[in-house]
């Protein structure tokens, strides 16, 4: 079965898409790795290392390793700032219309020299470097800040660029890809904690989400005390925000572990910090976690029962109202920082993609699978699913799922080729 010249489209360059792309590339196929954003890696690329004096198994570093491998892989072609407009054809012969949004800065030519930022006249700068972990590490032009998009004439950055990477006359580019199969690996949306208004996210600066915390650690390396004159901080994690509730009849898989690992990291950096985790059922299964759970039980206060209200008092401290089941009454505890462990939600733009590709969405909003035990096949032959776009998963499971999807694609394309040649 010669798959050498077969092409596959992987939609989404999060950890699952990357895992699929790497497997397909290693098997000799050509892979188009399509990414909507400017940088690859999805949500997990911005996660922080949660090691204390030992590795906590969060796998954030594995994501970094895989991103590097994918970007350097000779068989993988990256198409960033791109989305699918239309699909035609079937298994073995899909024709996909791609639209690439103008970026103004050609990431193949940007060498991140920084000369453009120096000359940009606006404050804050309209042209700036991406997040440190961004791959490709290519500068960003912010249309909202740039004076050109307000009608003024300015080409200072363009003139300063030594590689002529900045082009303003760029329009959206259309392209057609011919591929044998498609893997949808579009990932998830983080649950918008604003939907739970009584918890104060978006109103109180010291109510943050787990993802905000990951990014804070990635950028700063440690947590700045929120209430400055206090000796030690008091932090609360509230689990199941956007999971196991009315609108989301599932567990998001990742929140209990990420909360405990983040709590562990906080305690390691500032042992005097008090951490409380409010939960429904603590999810502690999985390889490699049991050894940490004993430690967490010692250093973290676990309270069964998820609070419904967070109020900020005059001093900026947060009062959390919850039911203490052991005492059987309603209590109020004060915290300096409240972290909402937000869950994995299906992407809202899944509707559009589902319509374009002709695949179904399940009741919970994730992409649907055709049969119960085949978690990567859709109702359309040749279109498969990988990762959290099919349902919540943690990083190792997303990688495994991406590999499984790639494995399935190779099998399907081989069978298709055999049927065609009659061999």
């Amino acid at each position: 079965m010669d798959l050498e010249n077969k092409c596959v489209l992987v939609v989404g360059s999060g950890i699952s898409g990357i895992a699929s792309a790497l497997e397909l590339g290693n098997a000799g196929l050509h892979v188009y790795l399509l990414e909507k954003e400017a940088a690859v890696g999805g949500h997990a690329a911005s996660f922080c290392c949660k090691a204390t004096d030992v590795c906590s198994g969060c796998s954030a570093c594995v994501v970094r390793d895989k991103i590097k491998e994918a970007v350097l892989h000779p068989q993988v072609r990256l198409l960033t700032n791109s989305t699918i407009r239309e699909l035609d054809g079937k298994l073995g012969d899909f024709r996909v219309e791609i639209t690439q949004q103008p970026r103004y800065i050609d990431e193949e030519r940007c060498i991140a020299c920084g000369l453009c930022t120096e000359v940009c006249p606006t404050e804050p700068k309209a042209i700036y470097p991406p997040a440190a972990e961004a791959t490709p590490f290519s500068y960003i032009l912010d249309e909202g800040l740039c004076v050109r998009f307000k009608g003024e004439k300015c080409d200072l950055c363009q003139e300063s660029c030594p590689t002529k990477a900045i082009q303003f006359e760029v329009k959206a580019k259309e392209q057609e890809l011919s591929v044998g199969a498609i893997i949808v690996a579009t990932g998830f949306d983080v649950f918008d904690a604003r939907e739970k208004g009584s918890l104060g996210y978006g109103r109180y600066p010291n109510v943050v989400t787990g993802l905000d915390l990951e990014r804070t650690f990635s950028r700063e390396g440690y947590l700045r005390p929120t209430v400055s004159n206090k000796e030690s901080q008091n932090i609360a994690f509230i689990q199941c925000i956007g999971s196991r509730d009315q609108g989301h009849g599932y567990c998001s898989h990742v929140c209990c572990k990420y909360a405990m690992k983040l709590a562990g990291l906080i305690k390691y950096q500032s042992p005097d910090t008090q951490v409380t985790i409010f939960y429904i059922d603590l999810q502690t299964a999985g390889k490699g976690f049991a050894q940490f759970h004993e430690e967490y039980k010692e250093s973290i206060r676990f309270v069964r029962g998820v609070p419904v209200e967070v109020l900020q008092d005059a001093s900026g401290e947060l009062e959390v109202k919850f039911e203490d089941v052991c005492q059987g009454k309603v209590c109020r505890d004060t915290f300096d920082l409240v972290v909402l462990s937000v869950g994995i939600s299906p992407r809202k733009d899944s509707w559009d993609l589902a319509r374009i590709l002709g695949i179904n969405l399940a009741d919970d909003g994730f992409f649907d699978i055709a049969e119960p035990l085949n978690s990567d096949e859709t109702n359309v032959d040749g279109i498969l699913l990988a990762g959290t776009c099919q349902g919540p998963r943690d990083i190792p499971d997303s990688i495994a799922h991406g590999i499984a999807a790639a494995s399935k694609v190779i099998h399907i394309l081989s069978e298709f080729a055999s049927r065609r040649t009659g061999s």
Partner: protein, 130 residues
């Protein structure tokens, strides 16, 4: 090479962490000279001692976090060798030329900077003590 700190950086952890530190604009002492190695376990006592022999103020060995070594045992071996080197130096009466091991992940630029700053502080303190 007075004042230089030799930092053996594992290519899976410390080397990319140092790169990230640069991208984030985090600064650390200019005295650091990074030597890239495939694993902290590649670094032998002779490498650490040669650096000191040639005048380095300190030697850093940086590898993956405990339990996350790409080569399973490399970081543990490195730690043992660093301890051994430290013991050898004390035995021959050499004080104030620290050889220290740090563990970090490739996405932990702040830990890299912390290691560089800490070793600089240790050098300064042991100089002041003498």
């Amino acid at each position: 090479m007075n004042g230089r700190i030799i930092a053996f950086c594992c290519e899976h952890s410390a080397y990319p962490a140092a790169d990230l530190a640069g991208k984030l604009g985090l600064h650390y002492p200019e005295t650091l000279r990074i030597i890239r190695v495939p694993c902290a376990g590649r670094v032998d006592v002779i490498h650490m001692l040669r650096a000191l022999e040639k005048g380095a103020s300190a030697v850093l060995v940086l590898g993956c976090e405990d339990g996350a070594c790409h080569h399973i045992t490399g970081n543990i071996r490195a730690r043992e060798r660093v301890k051994h080197c430290d013991m050898l130096l004390r035995e021959i009466g050499i004080d104030g030329r620290p050889v220290v091991m740090f563990n970090l992940s490739p996405n932990a630029p702040h830990k890299f900077v912390k290691a560089a700053n800490e070793i600089t502080k240790i050098i300064k303190e042991s100089r002041e003590a003498r």
